[in-house]
């Protein structure tokens, strides 16, 4: 059993299995659980699994950001909106408004995933070319990873970084505008 995988170390296989289990169980939970609160908690499980996969692939800084931003901020925002709207009873739909929608969705997704898996499992991606963004250095882990990523973001990708700053400001202003209630005019002003 597993004779073909013995060329890889057991810890790396174990880490991959852990992250795969977390990711897939969480993802299936998101689309099967009827209660939106449970779905959001399942989403946290998937995000943790992705963070494990990030650590295993020497993306330490991104794993930390994944936990802090995704699990810490975005899912909390989801839970806040679910509680705020009071829609945590159940998913409102059991019928198919469009005929055969589930079947078509399943077929389309199966074709897409089969194509992706064929493409990804059967191709050899390593070209041997030197990377541009790291100036020919290998990818590093630990605090060196933070340094390398920061250098790339603040030099090569500086314009994109500044653009995300503008994007975040626009998103905040847009969210405030959307969530604002229309102000009711004062009664005196109506009388005049």
């Amino acid at each position: 059993m597993l004779g073909v995988t013995l060329q890889y170390t057991w810890p790396s296989i174990l880490i991959f299995a852990t992250s795969a289990l977390l990711i897939l169980v969480g993802a299936i939970g998101v689309i099967t659980l009827a209660n939106p609160v449970h779905a959001a908690l399942s989403l946290i499980m998937t995000l943790f699994g992705v963070a494990v996969a990030f650590v295993a692939q020497s993306a330490d800084f991104l794993a930390a950001v994944q936990i802090i931003v995704y699990a810490g901020a975005i899912v909390v925002l989801f839970l806040f909106v679910i509680m705020f709207l009071g829609v945590d009873r159940r998913d409102s739909v059991t019928v198919d408004p469009l005929v055969g929608q589930r079947v078509f969705a399943a077929v389309g997704v199966l074709i897409t995933v089969a194509g992706l898996i064929t493409l990804m499992a059967r191709s050899h991606w390593v070209t041997g070319a030197m990377s541009v963004s790291t100036h020919g250095h290998a990818l590093t882990t630990g605090s060196q990873n933070v340094k390398q990523l920061g250098t790339a973001i603040f030099t090569t990708y500086l314009f994109a970084f500044e653009a995300t700053a503008a994007l975040l400001i626009i998103a905040v202003v847009g969210a405030v505008m959307l969530a604002r209630r229309e102000r009711v005019p004062n009664p005196e002003e109506i009388d005049v």
Binding site: Q7, Y8, T9, S12, I13, F16, I23, L24, A27, V30, I31, A40, L43, T46, L47, V50, A53, A56, Q57, S58, A59, F61, L62, V69, Y70, A73, I74, L77, F78, F84, D91, S92, V93, A105, G108, V109, T112, V113, I117, M120, A121, W125, V126, T127, S131, V132, S133, A138, L139, L149, I153, T156, Y157, L167, A171, G174, A175, L178, A179, R181
Partner: protein, 101 residues
């Protein structure tokens, strides 16, 4: 030696498939947003795997920007959901059919 990149790529493809299926079949706007997050995470995982495979930190930088865009998208999207819920008392996307031709 770490496991081959193809394992992580296949895992990301499966995650993307689950997210896409949920997005196509779910009715609640909140659950649909969660499925979009699943798909974004699948793409992030692919980027990180390729960053490792090709020894190129550009993939990780891209994931950083995807996370920022996802945060902005969730903020505005949930604002829209709240605004719609105020008028409709429902988050079902099937009830938003005024602009149907």
């Amino acid at each position: 030696m770490n496991v081959p990149a193809a394992w992580y790529l296949v895992l990301a493809a499966l995650l993307f498939g689950v997210g896409a299926f949920g997005l196509l079949t779910k009715r609640s706007a909140l659950i649909m947003f969660m499925c979009v997050e699943l798909m974004l995470n699948a793409v992030n995982l692919t980027f990180v795997t390729f960053a490792r495979t090709l020894s190129d930190v550009g993939g990780q930088a891209t994931v950083f920007f995807v996370m920022v865009v996802a945060a902005a998208e969730v903020t505005v999207g949930l604002g829209i959901v709240v605004a719609v819920f105020r008028r409709r008392s429902s988050t079902s996307v099937d009830e938003l059919s005024e602009m149907k031709g």
